[in-house]
Amino acid sequence: MLKQIEGSRAVAEAIALSRPEVICAYPITPQTHIVEALGERVKSGALTGCEFINVESEFAALSVAIGASAAGARAYTATSSQGLLFMAEAVYNAAGLGLPIVMTIGNRAIGAPTNIWNDHSDSMSMRDAGWIQLYAESNQEALDLHIQAFRLAEELSCPVMVCMDGFILTHACDRVDVPTQAEVDAFLPPFEPRQALDPAEPVTIGAMVGPEAFTEVRYLAHHKQLRALSLIPELCAAFNAQFGRVSGGLIRTYRTEDAETIVVALGSVNGTVQEVVDQMRATGVKIGSVSICSFRPFPLSALRESLGHAKRVVVLEKCLAVGLGGIVSDGVRKSLSGIQLKGYTVIAGLGGRAITRASLTQLFEDAEADELEQVTFLDLNADVVAHELEREQLARRTGPTAEAILRRLGTVGSRIG
């Protein structure tokens, strides 16, 4: 059924349709509306067979989800930003124990300085924790990915993060097609755990493992993710067969066949990128784009196949590896091992800075002319940076950087784009 609803509500619908048995919630912007909507459903009786547990912290939220999942329940939680960092130890535990928890990340920057707006710093910080990470391009895809995520998680016994851009998707009111309960039930069978804590049949979960077996446990976790490289496209195809739309998969290409310049990005910015690709194609520029949906496991072969023929690749990243540049770029370069082409990293959209068509058009034209630096910061205010660096040269006690920059900029709440 088509509905015009907020992205967070669309995700809540998907979770409710997936028949969760335990939902743990601790509020943090911008994911809060998701668990609020689920809380309302449990309280009103619209969502039955589900326990909604308010906990005292994000660490507790995921810990309770771990306990629930280990006891054989389909468990769900959601978080953002510092919330994900606070649960970091439990994030590794959930994966290490092989518990198929599904967690939404409403992507948001990490402080300091405090920032509630969107970028990918939070989920990227947990990229190697052993979770599968899927990034949604639209609210329809966010809804669909959650339904796929439970099946993926439970087939592999591996937790899955569904990442959606905070505010840009979580707070956007878009048209989404919400499936019926019968359709979701046909796609997502009841949870049959590989391991379950049961007093009648006691087992130990989470024993200490020494050097004699730790490598093998870790290898099997890696192997599990490699299996996901074939399972994710299979689920995408099965979902398409049943629901009649393409959502998920490892990557999606857009006008790449004869492209000389290909832009690679994750998440909602792909929509804007595709608009710019169309505009530039209309003027004869051979440009295309690739949206990475599955960041973990990382789709090396699929990327090599779709990028290998290009002259240059521009990786647009909403996260900065300080002291290095890009995170996604590293994987993309690895996928192109032995192939000669130009590779550019562009850091964009940090802390919610809008990524506009105008800026992207200029950027891609510069790339086309091979006039980009190895690492570019999109729309960096060079004057402010130069002034701050100069100030730091002139005196020792220059005070906190962020506040000095705010003072120089004056009122900034009024900026449009």
Binding site: L2, Q4, E6, T29, I116, S138, F167, I168, H171, A172, C173, D174, R175, S268, V269, N270, G271, T272, Q274, E275, A354, I355, T356, R357, A358, T411, G413, S414, I416, G417
Partner: protein, 192 residues
């Protein structure tokens, strides 16, 4: 694509206004996208919300940089925020005020010789009367219907009844209706 940018302050229903417009467009079978741009979420802080309406799927995720319609829910923002940035040459301005163009300071603010269409409506007063709270959003949507013709009043009313219930819904329906009637009678054009 038809694009609207709404400026107001936290607590004035800026975000709800954009959502109602998107729901109304959806009910007319069109594609729509509404989204906010918050400062830190608090009452009184400047807030923007955007709405796009199109006949095909909307992929664009940038803020509305070049609005066809600018809705100003709080005229005290006129001198604080660069409200008119990117407004289309034939753009429409809806403002929650009955002050004259001169008293609002619009002549200086708009500058140049471009011709804008302007519609002034006492949306807060209308809201106070019908809703009992200073939430000018639905009255301004009624004004949008009258001044732009981009959406039907029935769709706005249906959207209000979808999002709100009971007296709150009916109060907002009445506010939108009164502003619609008022705006139809007071269309004007300004050279700024």
């Amino acid at each position: 694509m038809f694009q609207v940018r709404i400026h107001g302050r936290g607590g004035q229903g800026v975000v709800s206004g954009a959502e109602l417009l998107a729901i109304a467009a959806f009910r007319e079978g069109r594609h729509a996208q509404a989204f906010p741009s918050f400062g830190s979420e608090r009452m009184g802080a400047p807030v923007m919300a955007f709405c796009r309406i199109d006949d095909r799927e909307i992929r664009l995720r940038e803020p509305v940089m070049e609005p066809d319609v600018l809705i100003i829910q709080d005229p005290t923002l006129l001198h604080q925020v660069d409200l008119f940035k990117g407004l289309a040459a034939t753009g429409l301005i809806l403002i929650n005020s009955t002050k004259s163009v001169v008293d609002l300071g619009l002549v200086d603010l708009l500058g140049g010789t471009r011709r804008y269409r302007l519609c002034r409506v006492p949306a807060t007063e209308i809201a106070q009367r019908h809703v009992g709270r200073p939430v000018p959003n639905t009255a301004l949507l009624g004004c949008l219907v009258a001044a732009s013709g981009a959406i039907r009043l029935e769709s706005i009313i249906a959207a209000i009844r979808e999002k709100f219930a009971g007296n709150l819904a009916e109060g907002n329906v009445a506010a939108a209706g009164e502003a619609y009637t008022m705006a139809r009678e007071s269309r004007e054009a300004v050279h700024a």
